[in-house]
Symmetry: C2
Subunit: 261 residues, 2 copies
């Protein structure tokens, strides 16, 4: 894969079935999104949940019911085919993984695109910080916490966080950098003692992979996009589609456009 | 003392000798400054030291040689009489404390006014955070560290820091708030384990008073305006005047003017 491929070209390759793997590291500099597709009668509550919990659940774009376009994020988008892999759920249970959802499409489906940590990790790297999960070539470690989300109708739960270790001065710099990006999880929600947010053992992740914590480093925790997935599992909507992990929508939006300052 | 007194009125009272105590808590909302007065041939090096070490040594204003005015900070200012108390030093040694320096004035003296933590503490309080030294009614705890300052001519040394304890989420918020105020020490320089910056015992302050660290709180450390005073003690200029602790210049500049965002 040519790393300089444009987002539009990559989406075309994915649509044709020429690229089926994950999207991490591709189209550097452009926003990638987590995706949730729900029937219209569940979408309003999910939107409310997102608005009440913007740090774990930042909505960057959403479609009209039945539409596969979100023009503010990507030109000529077809959300039914332009992500490499999709997961289908019925009543909260995983049914199957597919590379195209055209045959499952319904006129009442609403698509949500949510900000993801790739954007702020790029900003941290650009500033010269080391992002441990990237330097160790693994998924970011993620943990369930005791931080409650605000409830919206049938959606509720506790926050899932991702963790990146830093020396204190770098943690302070990371707070400054990520504060500029509120729509991709923003500033960390916690740092230091993991037990204060209900994480008993930092070496045991609930999602993703553990990373090395060097001497003198403190763990820094960000609200994580897995939070809405857990809320969906608990709410058990009759039908739901998400992207497969790592197989994101690659948008036409530069990461720098998300910086508020 | 009427707490609603204007800075101009307070400076007049001080000039007449009607107010000789410290200025903390007076003229809320207005910038107060630490002061250093040096002979011209030492001032250039001190200015360079400040520019190389802007976090502990933020210059908000300086005078022309021999002038007692700094119009960008205060109207009708006479730095020789408008602070409640002054300390005189010769060759780095404290000589005497006086309420007026007119009889010690020289045509080669340059006055520096430096940002102080009162400004960012006000911003923290306004955001609803608790500032422990204020709620416990004592001076902020300050510590010598092993963080080196950059050397400028005869001025060198290590950084002095002030400490305020916070829960982690409030510490993150404090980083965001103080980042807006780079000219009054800005974001913290460290948080968490004090030994990593050379502080062996957090209960033993080098300046100021110890404060309570509650369970689950982490100490957060800011660059402190005592740093240039320590550099002055070590450089031993033949003549030097500073404000007495807590007896600051009260300026006409609203704290909000220092916010960069």
């Amino acid at each position: 894969m040519n790393p300089d491929i444009t987002p539009a070209e990559l989406r075309q390759q994915i649509r044709r079935g020429d690229h089926t793997g994950n999207t991490s590291g591709l189209c550097a500099g452009f926003v990638q999104c987590n995706m949730v597709i729900l029937p219209k009668d569940w979408a309003a509550e999910f939107l409310q949940f997102s608005q009440l919990n913007p740090k774990p659940c930042p909505v960057l774009g959403m479609s009209a019911p039945g539409s596969w376009e979100i023009p503010e994020l990507a030109a000529n988008l077809d959300v039914r085919s332009d992500l490499p892999s999709y997961k289908l759920f019925e009543n909260g249970e995983f049914i199957q993984e597919v590379t195209d959802i055209k045959e499952h499409w319904r006129d009442d489906l609403v698509t949500f695109m949510l900000g993801c940590s790739f954007s702020f990790e790029e900003a941290l790297l650009a500033d010269g910080l080391e992002v441990r999960n990237i330097s160790e070539g693994c998924n970011v470690p993620m943990y369930r916490t005791n931080i409650p989300c605000r409830t919206a109708g049938r959606f509720s739960g506790t926050m899932v966080v991702s963790m990146r270790p830093f020396l204190a001065a770098d943690a302070i710099r990371a707070v400054q950098i990520c504060t500029r990006f509120p729509s991709v999880h923003g500033a960390p929600v916690h740092l230091g003692d993991p037990s204060l947010i209900g994480i008993d053992d930092i070496s045991k992740t609930d999602f993703g992979d553990p990373v090395t914590l060097h001497e003198n480093e403190i763990p820094v925790f960000w609200a994580c996009g897995v939070t809405p997935q857990v809320a969906l599992e608990q709410a058990k909507p009759p039908f739901c589609i998400t992207h497969s992990p790592g197989c994101m929508l690659v948008t036409d939006v530069p990461n720098s456009k998300l910086a508020i300052l």
